[in-house]
């Protein structure tokens, strides 16, 4: 039963990876920017949540929307003030800018809040679990995060499929210069993509912080890797691909942990490399945004 349990925990863990990965995939799909700062933004989202609870007494549940709104605004500013300009320069400029952000964010966090973990406790919810019978248990919090992941990705899917803004995002992913001929200001499309990406990564970061019980400045180095792996495993640009990628990575890590506590990251990376070698387009293998 341990193995089935491990797989189940992995699936639940995959939810957080999937939320984090969806924004990475969206920004890449629309602007062709590989956002190297995505993991650090996730950490920043966690800090906003933790500090709003610590300094302003915001209830823990409310830290989620607070963090999403704050990061959404930050995303809009970053897009308008930095990335729009970078996109007009050379091809490599935007990725270098995101690399710069990934250096700046954790170092500013250390200056402001030291290297010590900033707690964000969800109390007894952190240990409460649901007995599924037959020796299978699943924690309430992992279950909630997984359900949230499905809800967020479904909402993103409906947005991309059913709304005019979503269609324009997908059309921009196909051919940005032709979309401009339909009267669409590219900057507005890019800002929409970035705001969604920042808000979703804030959600991932807050859930991650709750799961860990706290957050430290440099954890983004590892989480950005998970997000990239989830995107590549699932198939770049595909909303459901990120969920499948996240789950695959989560299961790989959980199974690895079941074998030995040293192994989760290694097994995760090995699964990633195997997918890259055997099916480089990813499991769903879509290169267009949908």
């Amino acid at each position: 039963m341990n193995w089935v349990n491990a797989i189940l925990q992995g699936v639940m863990l995959g939810g957080i990876f999937a939320i984090a990965a969806s924004g990475l995939s969206l920004v890449y799909g629309v602007m062709r920017i590989a956002n190297l700062a995505h993991g650090d933004l996730m950490v920043l989202g966690g800090y906003v949540a933790a500090m709003s609870a610590i300094s302003y007494g915001v209830p823990v549940v409310i830290t989620i929307p607070v963090s999403m709104v704050v990061l959404g605004v930050v995303g809009w500013l970053v897009q308008r003030m930095v990335l729009d300009r970078a996109l007009r320069l050379e091809e490599m400029t935007p990725i270098l800018v995101t690399f710069g952000l990934s250096v700046i964010i954790p170092n500013v966090l250390v200056e402001l809040f030291t290297n010590n973990s900033k707690p964000l406790s969800i109390g007894s919810l952190g240990t409460a679990s649901l007995d599924l019978g037959g020796g299978l248990t699943v924690g309430w919090f992992p279950l909630i995060t997984f359900v949230l992941a499905v809800v967020v990705l479904s909402a993103l899917h409906v947005f991309l499929r059913r709304t005019q803004s979503g269609r324009i995002l997908r059309a921009t992913s196909d051919d940005p210069s032709t979309v401009r001929l339909m009267g669409v200001d590219s900057r507005r499309v890019y800002a929409t993509a970035t705001v969604i990406a920042f808000a979703t990564v804030a959600l991932a970061g807050t859930l991650y912080t709750m799961k860990q019980g706290g957050i430290t400045p440099f954890e983004g180095r590892l989480t950005v890797l998970f997000a990239f792996e989830a995107v590549i495993i699932g198939g770049l640009g595909s909303v459901w691909g990120t969920l499948i990628g996240g789950i695959t990575l989560g299961v790989a890590q959980a199974v690895g942990a079941e074998i030995s506590p040293d192994l989760p990251l290694l097994v995760g990376h090995l699964v990633f490399l195997t997918v890259l070698a055997v099916r480089p387009q990813g499991i769903l293998g879509r290169s267009s945004l949908a």
């Binding site: 997908r170 059309a171 009267g183």
Partner: protein, 239 residues
């Protein structure tokens, strides 16, 4: 009468290559202007300066009595300049219907909506849920025209709409022109086929090596005149 769309003394090019030399053209409202000329004469470049995709080095572009030279292509599209681009430029991952709906992003109101486009091109109605990437060239061209119309433009620029298509398909596309023009839309058509241009145009301009070699109402032009201008009667070099 004042021109709806006008390029004034435009020189334009790409990098060191100059494609247009002091080109002046205007289209009256409701008129159909055909730009004819050989490959590489600069017809598409003229359309690009009209849409704003390409900024002229000197000269200006006027639309509805206003200088729009500094406006980007998205702003001009919102004012009512639509292009049916060369090569059709579908959004391949979107369905036909979605391609058409993106065309409405100009947020202009007018006679053209999804139903109007489907009424004009009925075959698209049955295939509306199909991805644009799976369509034949002719179907894609029909979608590209429908998509431009969805923006309810005042001027429709059509770049080589018959290129690479079977004659029977080209025939169908040209048959849709009268119903497009019935709504009062001004059309600028780039076409290599002289007889087609003669058949549909009010005005014709022949472009040769980046200059307007001949320009006038179709009625007053003879085929021989246009043919001579098409191929160039003098040996002056470009640049």
């Amino acid at each position: 009468m004042s021109a709806l769309l006008e390029v004034r003394s435009v020189t334009a090019g790409y990098g060191d290559f100059q494609a247009l030399f002091d080109v002046s053209l205007e289209v009256e409202e409701g008129e159909l202007l055909a730009l004819v000329g050989a490959n590489g004469a600069g017809k598409s470049t003229i359309l690009r300066t009209m849409t704003g995709t390409l900024s002229p080095m000197t000269g200006s572009v006027w639309f509805d009595g206003e200088d729009v030279t500094s406006l980007g292509d998205d702003a001009r599209a919102r004012r009512g300049i639509s292009l049916v681009p060369e090569g059709r430029r579908m959004f391949p991952s979107l369905t036909i219907e979605e391609n058409l709906r993106v065309g409405a992003a100009t947020r202009r109101t007018g006679p053209w909506d999804l139903d109007a486009v489907f009424d004009m091109i009925p075959l698209l109605r049955d295939r509306r849920r199909r991805p644009a990437a799976t369509l034949s060239g002719g179907e894609q061209q029909a979608v590209a025209i429908g998509r431009a119309l969805m923006g309810n433009p005042r001027v429709l620029l059509m770049d080589e709409v018959s290129l690479g298509l079977a004659p029977v398909v080209v025939e169908q596309i040209y048959e849709s022109l009268p119903s497009i023009r019935a709504g009062g839309i001004t059309v600028v058509l780039v076409e290599q086929d002289l007889s087609r241009s003669f058949a549909v145009a009010d005005e014709m301009a022949c472009i040769l090596e980046g200059r307007v070699a001949l320009r006038g109402p179709v009625k007053s032009l003879t085929r021989d005149e246009v043919t001579a201008a098409y191929f160039g009667t003098s040996t002056e070099g470009a640049s």
